[in-house]
Symmetry: C2
Subunit: 183 residues, 2 copies
DNA sequence: ATTTCCATACAGAACGTTTTGTACAGAAAT
DNA sequence: ATTTCTGTACAAAACGTTCTGTATGGAAAT
């Protein structure tokens, strides 16, 4: 039995730090050696190509995203629309680790969209589970708005000025409750 | 008076084509030479650095975006929320040139966010003109949703399956009318 | 009117940097 | 003995920028 590879984890963690701080475009082997403390050879041993490293990064993020989702799901209140409100709050949080990671991976994803294939798979499975009645259609407008808020703020071209941000979020949460009320 | 430079336009047009087709990440001088028919020297004469070229591309897109906006504004119906509905339809159009350009510039913008400074300027001026009453807060939810739809579809991680897309758009337009009705 | 001069507009090659992938010899741990 | 990793070195390519050369059109000088 091979011993558990420590270096692999150190490399992944270092890569994630670099991506969050300076974006995947500036993720080079030299930086990675310095940040992780793992030698060039060690990095290549675990991740033969850079593509492998990026895919491993995304896979890990997807996994821990699913775990967090499950944990969050368990602690949700019974209030109608609680799940949707949690989503809104997630994207509405000004400065989360998750958002920094997504933003950092942007250049890599723009260069090679197939990196997102695993994410797409997980996402579609989730969407297919929903029953698309009129109420769900309405709720998906809020889902889209939450995602739109994230990107609009990321690009700094927000539709919403900073001082109105909170009002918009509150209104979205209120709508989420209204549109999730059982008939 | 300097004579009109032809090459500059050819370079810009070619760059825009490349960005739309394969993204700014694949916008290299070699490709640009081949696509524009202008030599490397000619390109660097008009655009000393690649940064200059990208900024010129964005500036031109912003200008013609403003023109199209003005043209569209003139032809809008008097129906309440007509402007907002036009915005929704713009981002909701499955395959527009404008959207391809924005998407193509993604990698460049991710690498250097300051590229968007002119866009930000124009955008903020527009937002500041709005009166942020409760109705406007609601409408901005729809603005965010329109943008969210675009990015969610671009990444292929859409919150909305293709067969429900139209229903969501219709509901958004309906909400735009409701929330724009004069009291 | 001819010549001189100079800025503009491009062509084309060359250069230097950066980065990735690969190889390999061996140490260290299990 | 096998897996895990270090350390170094190098090939190969990609890419942005710089450099030198050339053509042209018009202003200025004569």
């Amino acid at each position: 039995m091979p011993r558990p590879p420590k270096a692999r984890l150190r490399v992944l963690d270092a890569a994630e730090r670099i991506v969050k701080a300076r974006g995947a475009a500036n993720l080079t082997y030299d930086e990675l050696v310095q940040e992780s403390g793992v030698s060039r050879g060690g990095i290549t041993y675990h991740f033969p190509t850079k593509d492998d490293l990026l895919r491993a990064l995304i896979a890990r993020d997807l996994e821990q995203g699913k775990r967090q989702e499950a944990r969050q799901h368990a602690g949700l209140s019974d209030e109608p629309g609680a799940e949707l409100i949690a989503l809104i709050r997630t994207w509405g949080t000004p400065d989360s680790d998750r958002k920094r990671f997504v933003a950092g991976m942007l250049s890599a994803v723009a260069h090679d969209p197939s990196l997102l294939d695993p994410v797409r798979c997980h996402h579609q499975a989730e969407c297919a589970m929903r029953t698309w009645d009129d109420a769900e259609i309405q709720r998906s407008v809020l889902r889209l708005a939450a995602e739109g808020l994230f990107w609009s703020e990321f690009f700094g071209c927000s539709e919403v000025p900073a001082e109105q941000r909170e009002r918009v979020l509150l209104r979205m949460e209120q709508l989420a409750r209204e549109w999730s009320r059982p008939v």
